[in-house]
Symmetry: C2
Subunit: 290 residues, 2 copies
C-alpha cells in the first residue's frame, strides 16, 4: 500500500517556480501543453516553468485570476476533469502549515497537473471496549462517487480548502460525513501526518502528481454512538475489531489505498503493528513520510 | 533539534557494498585510510568500497573476523575510540528488522566511520494523572559518562546489539537503567521509530556518520513508581509535567539532542504538539523520519 501511494518518479519533471521558490513540478507533456496553450500565463523553459513576464510583478490575486482563466479554458478542452470550484493554496513546498501567505490559489482539480502539494485531514474514529481492545469505524464510499466508488475509507476525510483551520474543517467534515456532533468532533486529537508522492494515472499522456500531506486525527467515540452520513458520499459505516481492519488492509484491495496508509499509521502508533511481527516495519514507517 | 540530528551531506561519500548491496558509506579521508592501512580487507575504488578479493567468497564469520582484526589495529592507532566490545549487525540499509542474516558484524564504536546504520530502543516513561494530564520521567545522564555527560535523556535507551530481540533488550535496559521490573517493562508499547543521518564531529579529518533507526516505545507507569538507576549511567530521574518537558526541548540544549527527537515524536503522537500551534509541524514530522 505504501509503494502503491509512492509511484511518482520525478525524473524528466521540471520545477514550477514562483518568486524564486518551488511550488510544484510539471511533466514534459504538460509543459508542452502550457507552451502551446498557456503562453499568456506561463514561461516554459527546459529547466523550469515560471509565470510569464506580464505576470512577474503581479499580485497573488492577479496571478490566481490569470491562472484560473487558463484552467477554465483547459477544462473546456477536457484536460481538467472533475472541476470542484474549490480553491487550493499554492505555496512553497515544505512550507509551514497554516500557510501564512499563499503565493496564489488554484482550482483543486487542476493541482495534480502542476504537482502542487495538497493538504487533507483524515480521522480514525475508534471505540475502546471495556477489555481495552479497540474497534475502528470503517466507512464505505458511495457507489455513485466519482473517485474510488464503493471502496472502504477512514471515518472522516477531506481535502483541506483555503480559509478554514484544520480543526474547523474537521468539525465540518465530521458533521457532513458522519453526523458527529461538534462537542465530540472537537475532542479529535492531532497525531501527526503522512506524506506520499502519487503519480495519478490518466488516459491521456499528461502527467499528474499528488505530493500530498494528510494530517491525521484520532477520535475515540463512545460505545453507543453510530456515525451516519448526511451528504451522500458514504454508503454506510461499520464498526470492525482492529484485527479485522488490519487484515483487510494487509490482504485485500478493499480500502482506498491512500486511506490505508492512515490506518497503518494508526496501527503503528497504537502498537498493533510491531517491529518484531512485521519484517517490513522500518520500510513501512519511513514510507509513511515519503 | 531535527536539523541538529541531520547534519550529514552524502556528497563525496562512496557506498560500502557487500554482495552487491549497500551496507554503509565511507568518506574520502576514511577511504584513504583504508587504502593505506586496510588493503588486506578492503578494495577501495573511486565509486565504491568492497571487500578485497581474498574475502570475496568468505563467510560472514570470516569477514567479521578479518574486519575485527583491522579495527583493532585502528584502535591501537587511536582511530577508533570508545571501544565497547559490542557487536553491531552490518546489513543492507533499509532492510527489515530483525535482520534475518546480517552480512557481517562489527564493533559498535567503529560503525560511524563506515556509515553503518545502527539501531536502538528508546522508551518514554510517562504517568497519566487523574485529571488526564501527563507527566514524563526524564533521566539525567551521569556526569562521568563518556558521551553527553550530564545531559537529559529518555527514561530508558540503548543501542541494539546483535542476538537480542527488541523487547528483550528493552526489558534488560529497563532493569539496568531504571530498575523497572519485567512485568511493567513488558507493557511498553512499540509506537513507531525515528530516523536521522548525523555527521559526528571528530577532531581528526575522518568522516563519521550515524544513519540511525531508533525504535520508540511508550510505557505508562503507575503514579507511585519511581525509576532508580542500577548501572551508574543515570544520575537521577525527574517526573516533569509534559508542558515542562516540551518547553525544555524547545527552548534549551539540556536534552541530548537525539533523545529530544524521541520526545518530539511523543508530543506529536499524543496531540501536545499540534499543526496549528507550530508553524514547523510539517517539517518536524517529516524530519523525524529523515
Amino acid at each position: 500500500m505504501v509503494a502503491a501511494c509512492n509511484t511518482h518518479n520525478p525524473q524528466s519533471f521540471r520545477p514550477w517556480i514562483v518568486d524564486g521558490e518551488r511550488v510544484g513540478e510539471i511533466g514534459p507533456n504538460m509543459a508542452d501543453l502550457l507552451t502551446r496553450s498557456g503562453a499568456d500565463v506561463f514561461a516554459v523553459a527546459p529547466d523550469a516553468v515560471t509565470f510569464a513576464d506580464a505576470l512577474a510583478g503581479a499580485s497573488a490575486e492577479q496571478r490566481s485570476a490569470a491562472l484560473d482563466a487558463l484552467l477554465r479554458r483547459l477544462r473546456e478542452g477536457g484536460v481538467i476533469r472533475g472541476w470542484r470550484e474549490e480553491a487550493y493554496p499554492v505555496a512553497p513546498q515544505g512550507q509551514s502549515w497554516p500557510i501564512p501567505e499563499p503565493a496564489l490559489q488554484m482550482e483543486r482539480a487542476a493541482a495534480p497537473l502542476f504537482g502542487v502539494r495538497s493538504y487533507g485531514v483524515h480521522m480514525n474514529g475508534y471505540v475502546r471496549h471495556d477489555d481495552g481492545s479497540l474497534s475502528m469505524w470503517v466507512a464505505r464510499r458511495s457507489r455513485t462517487k466519482d473517485t474510488y466508488p464503493g471502496l472502504l475509507d477512514n471515518a472522516v476525510a477531506g481535502g483541506q480548502p483555503v480559509g478554514l483551520s484544520l480543526a474547523d474543517h474537521l468539525v465540518k467534515e465530521c458533521a457532513e460525513e458522519a453526523n458527529i456532533p461538534e462537542h465530540l468532533a472537537r475532542a479529535a486529537v492531532p497525531v501527526g501526518l503522512i506524506t506520499y508522492r502519487y503519480r495519478e494515472p490518466r488516459d491521456d499522456a499528461l502527467e499528474a502528481v499528488k505530493p500530498d500531506v494528510q494530517f491525521c486525527f484520532d477520535l475515540e467515540l463512545p460505545e453507543g454512538f453510530t456515525p451516519e452520513n448526511t451528504d451522500g458520499e458514504i454508503e454506510d459505516f461499520m464498526l470492525w475489531p482492529l484485527a479485522e481492519v488490519a487484515a483487510c488492509v494487509r490482504d485485500t484491495d478493499r480500502f482506498k489505498f491512500k486511506c490505508s496508509l492512515v490506518i497503518i499509521d494508526f496501527l503503528i502508533r497504537h502498537g498493533y503493528l510491531t517491529p518484531e511481527a512485521d519484517p517490513d516495519y522500518v520500510r513501512i514507517c519511513r514510507g509513511l513520510r515519503a
